[in-house]
Symmetry: D3
Subunit: 339 residues, 6 copies
């Protein structure tokens, strides 16, 4: 079984029309809602909008059995007016919950939270609880920079500021998927901002007491962990100088998806953090959904790369493709039934 | 011959006393100068301040024949008052020039520039010219974020804002060494800021027309290029979508040092950008100057790692250790004599 | 013939999906474009999205022969990043131009301009010229507050700041339709912001030298001129105290649409500024497209109210419904043919 | 009997000398006080400073029997330092209280409150209570924008922020007279700012629960309600779309003065909100105290315009001129004696 | 003959009523003007507003023959909107010019300038020229901090920023009287702000090249030079360390008034800078116009203190009381006739 | 016995290297500590760094028996990040405590506090208590402007904001030495900022209730009290106008050091505040450590000036040189033993 642990919803256009509209009237038209029928939702999944192929076709072609879908992060606009963020988040999560209900064997939902820059995550906990307990979500996105490079800084993930969220994640026994959103700076794109924020997240978490204080906390880092598996020697040196566990050992407190799109990078990741810490992910369809003219293959078609690593045992490969995801997101039969 | 292309000066204490002082009086005591004799300068190089070993001992132990030394970037405080930055930059470069004169076979200087956030690099060109033509510097540091995360953004390196500097680098035929400085954000350390800025620099440069407009421009990225060699699949995908050369091909417009401290990372770097684009570097003594209790070796002792790569040819290894540095920094005999 | 001089485009959803997208990626995906076929454009006009009735049905029901359509102002986001504003403006105007070509007897386009808060309107003149000369637009929206209450003030319309725009309007012989956009303040909705800005626009224009300096300038105020026809006594008093022409006389330098939705208000408008200064307008379908349960009529169905004013002569009514619009927007036969 | 419910004090010059002084020394000279004898106060009322005629002459000429006087709003400087605002407010109210005592048959006082932008109105309640219970004031001004367009926003009047004030108004059984003060924007004069703020006040109040929560709250809107009686169709449409009472019905929760200076506007006002909701007001002497060369009459001489409306019954006219004011401000015989 | 070189106008109340008014309407009522007759002006000078005694009585009692009067600095509000500053400055200077014409033997005018924080003094030069050439002013106030502690800094007086003003002062051959205005900080009163700014002014001027570049520039420091005559040893030390003339010698490039109110302070001043650099001044009536209960004398009655210094020669005393003022302000007979 | 009550530490260079370093890494290297042996500390005191003479030589030459040493204020950087301030303060105080222990007959320590702009001094009280009770400090510096002219204002010393500190000073029975630190404004040097802040401190304290509320509070003003002894007539006048004690009497609530460097200034100080309120101080070595070419003497060699004042009695001179310091700082035998 192949589970894709990092993917984003392909929603009906009405969701983004809704977003453009609330951003324009700023609440003047009232909250409203996304007008989308189940047919609209299924139609979106079957429209050939990504490189000529639809979301469901992509899954089929890739041989993916199940996908964990969350909102498209770059659309989440956490630095906007909190009221608008809350509305859009709820509408977006609703679409995801409906997709998961419509195609229960194929999709599970990972919700987003209406985060506000610099404001304690306590504010979002009731909503998170509802998403998990009532709407069947199996995890949530955690944006380490809801300010979106716009000048309002939020403490980094190693800070006690985030403890209320970690307590709730542990209590609900669900993982947090670390993933930042847009970037208002003109110096870099949101895509690179993701990478940089993942590096910041890992260094902050691993240089803090978070995993001493929350030994059962489950956090999954996007995109293979930003720069850190590649740059880990630098942080190993600092850790050795300060004493305490090696940085390379601490890295194994976290989980990492495999959204990397290159064989050498995947190899580095597995060797650095271990197969038991990696979850297969593709963001498919997404940034990597483009065909390489040299190979004729989609860049986000990475399953075969992993399968070809002879130095990985079949058990390790099964961990990456299936077991780790099942364990982290509790994707057992009864859970699926509940959702 | 082994040339270490990325290292920083070990200066007499008087340099940092000077810095603390001008930061405090803000010019009220006048410019003053660093009072350091040649003996002070040599004493600093022989003091056992890094893990019990001196700068010169480290070089000897490592078998490094020549080192390119620049100011310690985290001390450069580019976001401070421009007058103070100019004073400190000059004093710091002076110490480096004097070290290079005192030990001409061992050191060559790479100067820093008194950059100001958001201000055109035109302002620093006369000083750069003096450093190269009169003081024997063979390259210069280029800080892509003189604002030091303090709120004043400078356009990214792909912007025409930087063209006056590129013109001068081409005219002087010297390389720019991309290296950021301190970081005023509480979210990340300066050390991680280096990495993130390197990623921003590469993506901005390679998605711009800089190398079309300046085909002979020589830029060396620090720390193996931040996250990019590891994350290149992501940017390959975007480039394929937009058309034009592949991102992996464009990456070969740049040079990269090997300041990485882990075998797997070095392997990834060489495979990704090619040996002809890599320059041996250690920052030694520096962040990696700590002994690994497992191996008993300094973490920044990376020469043997490279030498053990059997898939690299001797010619390729010579490129990395010697030829690329000689070509980039023009370290031929006559040049050395001039300095 | 009934011409509706103030109405906004009913565009395909793809336009707003495009907007949500560029706001999220901030240019990272490139400019892209709105993917909408002629069928999509016609479909939008025939969808029953406003109170159960489609745009074209509304026109038919109201007996409107021709409508001047501009972008929905509250969507224009002039206070956003200028690059994004320019992209969205162009896409939006393109849809309008295509609608006008598809239904040339029914629609004429009034374009919007990519205005920037506090920046001279000189920047938008080449684009305005292109819209009029190449794309057949017969007028343009002028936003007196591109800062959208967000803290960056733009000088009021009586200021010489706006003279380059007035010169171009006179040169092109087209009218400016004064209409503000969104409002970032939590104190009022964009809809009331429109009204307040119209009042500011009129007072600033009429207390300035604009109509002395540009006697042939044609400006149409939205929504019956905000508060001013009702509050004119207040400004008459100030004008009498200062000397110069009476405010009530100066008011006749401007044109006003009839987007008011109440009989008493329409009556006040006509009596205050004269029928020769009024253009029939409805914003239909728009804010007034709701049925009054008392009368069973749409609130924006105002044509019959005007026709029932016995104190208006047939010639005056014709001015309001047809002649003034033809004169202002030069909607003669040959013009129509050209467009 | 004719009661003018909206007029402002004609104070001795010493009041404004005091203001200029405290603004300059910012408290350095201590609080001090306005040095004005009863003679000074009476002299100010008899000086021919408004179009050659004195305040008392104006009243006599107009046939006004009683006038409710409050501070000149544009002088109240609520966005200044709170200490200075408190001092000036008290001095200004003192002059009004003394005028009302000196001429008890002619004047009643409406006090102002030392409001602070963004600060809860709780802070001013003790002072309001003192004004009403000890100093004989029959109402108070309420400034919906104490920030005076200077960048610090205060929530709009429909927000719960204002509930402490509404509770106190209900408890004291006095009306609040909505009237903004100066305007620091260069885009509009304070006079137009009054109008725009009245529109904001009405829309915010009527789209909130204020009159559900405070059914006996009495609020009088200045200048005939800004733009709203003229623009009410626009808001009727929104209300119909949202459900709940019609906007035109909700408008009758408020009271409006007749400070409009034009026959057509007065007619629109009475027809829109009803005579039982209107109070005669002139601001005389004030902005309208200028003679119309066409008629030879003062623009603020509006009593005859109302008397000439044949479609208003004598009882309705009596409401406007007398009964509504008596009821709202409790101007009965015993009250007058108390004051 | 006794000349009081530092005093401020006692103006009719109408001047401050005017100020309060323009600050409130911010130009909305137009510029207007101060309505004051010659009788009003003379009445102000004869009103017993300072400790029970009038301005003219104070002069008589003190035996002052001539007084140089300027605006009351704390009223000048240089940090306000430039338009309002210009209006008030002109009105205030007009009153002074009229006083000087009404009492030509008693008063000479020192004008103020409509300075703007951070803006080059070039802007005020035409107005200064008019004041001197047309209106008979014999000097001008120079405010070294037009930002009034409000956050906008203006370069200190030793900066080349001020050279255009110095050039004009030299060309017109009139002195600048250094005197700051109000202070918006809550940490200190305007009165102490005067003192601190005088210290800043002296140190900046004397550590610059101003008197090398303008050897004939005449500048008079208020209040005996702030802290500097008392603290001069501190700056003497710095000057000796840097080389160049002694600070005590440089201090003699400036002139100082004697507005000090204590015998010991006056003695320190004369001994420190020399009698040829001091001009008798009292600010009378002003801050010192209060009777000391111990002596029964006004505190600003300082003439007798100076006359009692036996260590000053009669010629030195004549310098202080008369000659220096005549020389600096060119108060010869013909000048007086001209004014 | 001669006690110098105002002097600053001459520390090993390592202290300032430490400062430059933490300012650069902003905590990234951890807190670390100053590496200085007792030999380093003694060496610093014997190095001829001030005008060719060492700290200890200066004391000997001056005949000073004991010196109270505090950190060099201009280095304290209170406006920097609080964490860094705390680190540097502790390191700096440690050096002072060690000097006092190494040379117990010569030095006593006056500690600095890690103040933060605008933050209540409550935060620093535990640290102050430790310094006094455990480390032998006999007083502390109090910086009235920890914002260092950088835009964040702290209330002035007369404000109740400071009461927690005053309570602790009274409880510990130690004096506060008022001394500001650096100055970020380009208008004045830190040295003049000291003077201006002393003036602000005195005026604020003496116009408040501080000494009514804390009659036993001991505060020593630096540099002879800024401008105030010279300018006291000005504040005497204000005090007389307001009533209450004379300003000249209130001035005797404070203590003043004699760091003035000129005979006339010293004379003015003693005459104005009385010998029982003055403590001999020199800041030696410091700003005054320069030889006057006229006299051949150091400017800060002021003891002989005081000894030559024949109008001071021997008892008064003993107060100045010894008794006042002993009383204020409790420098009796047993105290010395304890430290």
């Amino acid at each position: 079984m192949v589970i894709d642990s990092h993917a984003h919803v392909t929603a009906p256009e009405a969701l983004y029309v809704y977003k453009a509209n609330i951003l324009s009237h700023r609440g003047g038209h009232g909250r409203g809602k996304v007008e989308a029928t189940d047919e609209d939702i299924l139609k979106a999944l079957n429209s050939p909008v990504f490189g000529g192929s639809s979301h469901l076709q992509q899954l089929k072609e890739a041989g993916t059995d199940m996908q964990l879908i969350s909102p498209r992060p770059y659309q989440l606009m956490h630095s906007e007016s909190p009221k608008l963020v809350a509305w859009f988040t709820e509408e977006c999560n609703n679409i995801i919950a409906r997709q998961a209900k419509l195609l229960p064997g194929t999709f599970r939902g990972v919700c987003s939270l209406p985060q506000t820059p610099g404001v304690s995550p306590k504010a979002v906990l009731p909503y998170l609880e509802k998403c998990v307990k009532e709407d069947g979500f199996v995890g949530c996105l955690v944006n380490p920079d809801p300010g979106e490079c716009g000048g309002i800084e939020t403490p980094p993930l190693g800070d006690r500021f985030w403890y209320p969220l970690y307590e709730k994640l542990v209590e609900l026994d669900i993982p947090g998927h670390i993933h930042s959103t847009a970037c208002k700076s003109d110096r870099l794109s949101y895509s690179l901002h993701f990478i940089n924020e993942e590096s910041i997240a890992i260094v902050s978490l691993l240089n803090s007491n978070v995993f001493t204080d929350f030994p059962t906390l489950k956090l999954m880092l996007s995109h293979g962990g930003g720069a850190i598996p590649y740059q880990c020697g630098r942080f190993e040196a600092s850790a050795l100088r300060r004493g305490g566990p090696r940085f390379s050992d601490r890295m194994r407190n976290l989980y990492y998806d495999t959204v990397l799109y290159s064989k050498d990078a995947l190899e580095l990741l597995f060797k650095t953090v271990g197969a038991d810490r990696c979850l297969f992910g593709t963001e498919r369809p997404g940034v990597g959904t483009v065909k390489d003219p040299k190979t004729g293959r989609w860049l986000d078609e990475t399953r075969h790369l992993i399968e070809e690593f002879h130095w990985l045992s079949p058990a390790e490969k099964k961990m990456i493709f299936e077991d780790n995801a099942k364990k982290l997101f509790k994707l057992g039969t009864s859970e699926g039934a509940k959702a």
